[in-house]
Every structure is written in structure tokens, then in C-alpha cells.
């Protein structure tokens, strides 16, 4: 599974943008990493790669923000959600198998609900300088294209 190191927020955004270009409707991208690890930053890149032109902001407060790209983009932030039960009860489950791409921050809060076949996992880690970004469950073809 590919591991990248990025040296700046801009590099993280570019990486996200390149990965996102290959995403199809129904894809779920789960982001993991501590506060400040760069999840929202990388999602700015994913959104760009999916054709979103609007400014992507942190949805910690509103939980979910929908954007119109070449396909619908659902930016979900589970920072304030504590369990899979809450995830289901506020109706987020229906987005996971919908017509667009789900980009989910703090995905571990709803881990058991992520569809196994269509979920890509992105783990961000803070390095002394930059970020280590590990991508799991992503097709080899795409990975090679990026190397």
C-alpha cells in the first residue's frame, strides 16, 4: 500500500487532487489522524480533483457539507459524533452508498459502518517536518500511475 510524505499543505492538497481524479460514485474515503494532522487540508485537494470549485471549509460544526463536483461530494466530519449509532440516527448512512463520493474525517467514530468493498483509508501522521500519508485499500493501477 502506498505511503507518501508531503512537505507542505500545498503538496498534501496536490496528492489528494491526484488520487481523487480516479474516484467513482459510491466511493468512500475515510480519513484518520489527530487534530491538525491535515485531514481537511487533504480533503480540499480531493474536492478539487472531483471538480469542486467552491472553497472547502471545515464541517466540524455542521457535520456534513455537500458540494457539487463532476459527481456529488459529501464532506462529513465526525469530530462531534461519538458512535456508529449516532452516525446512523442522524441519517448519514444513506450517503455511504449514494450517488457521490463521501470524504469522512474522524472516520474511526463510525468504522463498523464503512462499506468494506468501496472504502479507501487515508491515514495522516504528523512528522517533524511535513506529513506521512498512508493509503489503504486503493487499487494498484491507480497507485502505479501516481508513483
Amino acid at each position: 500500500m502506498p505511503v507518501f510524505e508531503t512537505e507542505s499543505p500545498e503538496a498534501t492538497i496536490r496528492l489528494g487532487e491526484r488520487i481523487a481524479r480516479g474516484l467513482k460514485p459510491g466511493a468512500v474515503v475515510a480519513f484518520y489522524g489527530e487534530l491538525g494532522a491535515g485531514k481537511t487540508t487533504m480533503i480540499k485537494g480531493f474536492a478539487r480533483g472531483l471538480g469542486v470549485r467552491e472553497m472547502v471549509k471545515s464541517p466540524s460544526f455542521v457535520i456534513i457539507t455537500e458540494y457539487r463536483g463532476r459527481i456529488p461530494v459529501y464532506h462529513i466530519d465526525l469530530y462531534r459524533i461519538k458512535s456508529p449509532a449516532e452516525f446512523t440516527e442522524i441519517g448519514l448512512e444513506s450517503y455511504l452508498t449514494g450517488d457521490g463520493v463521501c470524504l469522512i474525517e474522524w472516520a474511526e467514530r463510525a468504522e463498523s459502518l464503512l462499506p468494506p468493498a468501496t472504502t479507501i483509508r487515508v491515514k495522516l501522521q504528523v512528522l517533524p517536518a511535513g506529513r506521512r500519508i498512508e493509503i489503504i485499500g486503493w487499487s494498484e493501477g491507480l497507485a502505479e500511475e501516481l508513483q
Binding site: T41, K57, F61, I64
Partner: protein, 333 residues
């Protein structure tokens, strides 16, 4: 003759109801702070929606009781329709519509951000636009020209985290309880602002607070022995400096001589002090409502609803709740 507007607000944490007479006279303002959230380190949306359902009727009844009015005396019902958590909005909005239908009185939907602007008018009833509006809260960071009541021109907003969100998240990094804004201010009071945290400048009149959060994260990682109060004080200075810088630019750019600040972060004493110093230096009139009008409340919704009703008449019952919408009339969507 008096005109009574019942305002209802359920866009996020608070279930709130208020009766306002003639758009500016607050007869009652009941806010049920859902302290249950402090147990979870954040707002728990599902819980919020569920608590709204449980609280809305008692809160509305208390607002009527405190105003000394029977519900039959109400002339208009106003409720927040956007932006916010859908599950939470979908408690207050249908409740208001139902009440309006049942009583045979008009209903008006209010944008939560517009409510924050009207909080300034509640405190300063003689205020006349144009003025510069600054909204700083957990979910929003907006700089706008209020060219007339219910007419706005957006100047800038955040490109990543909201101002209050930065306070909450840095509070979390410092191991402080939720809600973090007040906790940061308290802790900062005993600290010295000796760390120079950079605040990224996204250009124009926009804000960016994500980088500041990351700078605090790095600092804590690299200096585990640091005095936490110093970090809180330094962060607060950096965040407030970023706000003051933008207000200064906006005043220069627009030439406006009145600045109104609202939203939960406007409750921060250091922010009030610093913008106050800027006001003295630049010679503009600074208006900051009392804390109870800065944080989420329904009096501001009633005030905005009253004005909207005067200008545009009642809204249709098919007005839907929206999670995200700019500050503009429902009719413009």
C-alpha cells in the same frame, strides 16, 4: 399597538425561544444550554436533535410565561431555517410552522447569521445601517456590509476553520473541557502571551484559522513542559490579532464608521478589549451586544423575523430547512 413576535432557534446546541415586542423590546429570552454536551467533549448532534424535541415545548412555554402573554396574543412566529444541523433545524422550524398554522398567524423563516446581525440591533435599537457586521462563532466567521436591514454584502469569511472552532479545538489540544472558548479565556488570564504563533493570511478580507491550530499542535509536541496558560494566552492573542487586522482593513476599505460584532466569540473579553482599542484608534463606533445576545438565542431570531415580516411579508410553509446557505433572504435561493 404592540406587535409580539415569538422567535424560535434550534440550529445547533441551544433550544431557545423569545418574545420580542415591536422588533426591539425583549420581553423574554429563554435559552436552554444543553450542558449534557460537556460530557462528550463536543456537541453531540443526535443528542442535540433529541434534546430539542424534549425541550422545545417547555422552552416556548417559559418564554410566553416570562413575557406574561398567552400564546393567543402572539402576532408572528419566526424560526431559524438555516444554516445548522438539519436534525436540529427540523425541530424548531416545523414547530413554528405548526404553531403559525394552528393560531392562524403569519410565519417567517430566519437565517441564523441574519439573527446574529439583529442581536446588535437589540442592544442598540437606534442603530441605522450601513455598518460593518462581524460574525464570529463556532460555525461561522463572516465579515459583511449591512447596507440596509436585511441587505448584506459579503466581504470575507473563513477559508477553513471558523474562529470559534479554533478556540474549541485548541482547548481540546490543551485538555480543556467543552465549550472551549470560555475555558481558553479563563486559562489565558493566568498566562503570558510569550509565544509568537503565526496566523496565515489567506488574502483579501478572508480568515484562516486552521494553520494557527496546527502551530499550537506543533508547539505542544515540541515543548511538552510548556506552561499551558502561556499557550492559551498566546493563542488568544494570535487569534484576536487576526480578527482585529481584518476589521481594520475592512473599515479602511469601506469607510464605514460603525462596526457591530456578534456571535459567541464576541463574548470573549480580550477580543472586546482589542477591537475597542482599534475603535479608539480609528475613530469608529463599536457596538458589541451583551453576552446573552452574542451567543445563540431566540431574541435575535424574533428581531430579524419582525423586520423581515415588515419588509417582505410572511413566508410560505414550504420553506425548507437548509444545512448551508449564505446570509440572504429565502426568496433569493
Amino acid at each position: 399597538m404592540s406587535f409580539f413576535c415569538l422567535g424560535i432557534e434550534t440550529s445547533c446546541d441551544e433550544t431557545a425561544a423569545s418574545v420580542v415586542r415591536d422588533g426591539v423590546n425583549v420581553l423574554s429570552s429563554v435559552v436552554s444550554s444543553q450542558l449534557v454536551h460537556s460530557l462528550y467533549g463536543g456537541v453531540v448532534p443526535e443528542l442535540a436533535a433529541r434534546a430539542h424535541v424534549r425541550l422545545i415545548l417547555p422552552v416556548v412555554n417559559e418564554a410566553l410565561d416570562k413575557a406574561g402573554l398567552d400564546v393567543s396574543r402572539i402576532d408572528l412566529v419566526a424560526a431559524t431555517y438555516a444554516p445548522g444541523l438539519l436534525g436540529a433545524l427540523l425541530v424548531g422550524l416545523p414547530f413554528a410552522k405548526g404553531l403559525s398554522y394552528g393560531l392562524g398567524i403569519p410565519f417567517v423563516g430566519v437565517n441564523h447569521l441574519e439573527g446574529h446581525i439583529f442581536a446588535i440591533r437589540l442592544e442598540y435599537p437606534d442603530l441605522k445601517p450601513p455598518f460593518l457586521g462581524v460574525i464570529l462563532s463556532g460555525g461561522h466567521t463572516e465579515l459583511l456590509i449591512v447596507s440596509n436591514w436585511c441587505e448584506y454584502e459579503e466581504l470575507g469569511s473563513t477559508v477553513d476553520d471558523a474562529c470559534g472552532e479554533a478556540f474549541d479545538k485548541v482547548a481540546k489540544l490543551l485538555g480543556l473541557p467543552y465549550p472551549g472558548g470560555r475555558e481558553i479565556e479563563k486559562l489565558a488570564g493566568g498566562g503570558r502571551a510569550v509565544i509568537d504563533f503565526p496566523v496565515p493570511d489567506p488574502g483579501g478580507l478572508d480568515f484562516s484559522f486552521s494553520g494557527l491550530k496546527t502551530a499550537v499542535l506543533y508547539y505542544l509536541r515540541d515543548h511538552p513542559e510548556v506552561v499551558r496558560a502561556d499557550v492559551a494566552a498566546s493563542f488568544q492573542v494570535a487569534a484576536v490579532r487576526a480578527v482585529v487586522r481584518r476589521v481594520e482593513q475592512a473599515v479602511k476599505q469601506t469607510g464605514l464608521s460603525v462596526v457591530g460584532v456578534a456571535g459567541g466569540v464576541a463574548a470573549n473579553g480580550y477580543l472586546r478589549e482589542q477591537i475597542g482599542l482599534l475603535a479608539q484608534r480609528m475613530g469608529f463606533r463599536l457596538l458589541v451586544p451583551r453576552v446573552g445576545y452574542c451567543t445563540d438565542n431566540a431574541a435575535m431570531i424574533a428581531a430579524a423575523g419582525f423586520e423581515r415580516y415588515q419588509r417582505f411579508g410572511a413566508d410560505d410553509f414550504n420553506l425548507s430547512a437548509l444545512a448551508r446557505t449564505p446570509i440572504c433572504p429565502p426568496g433569493d435561493l
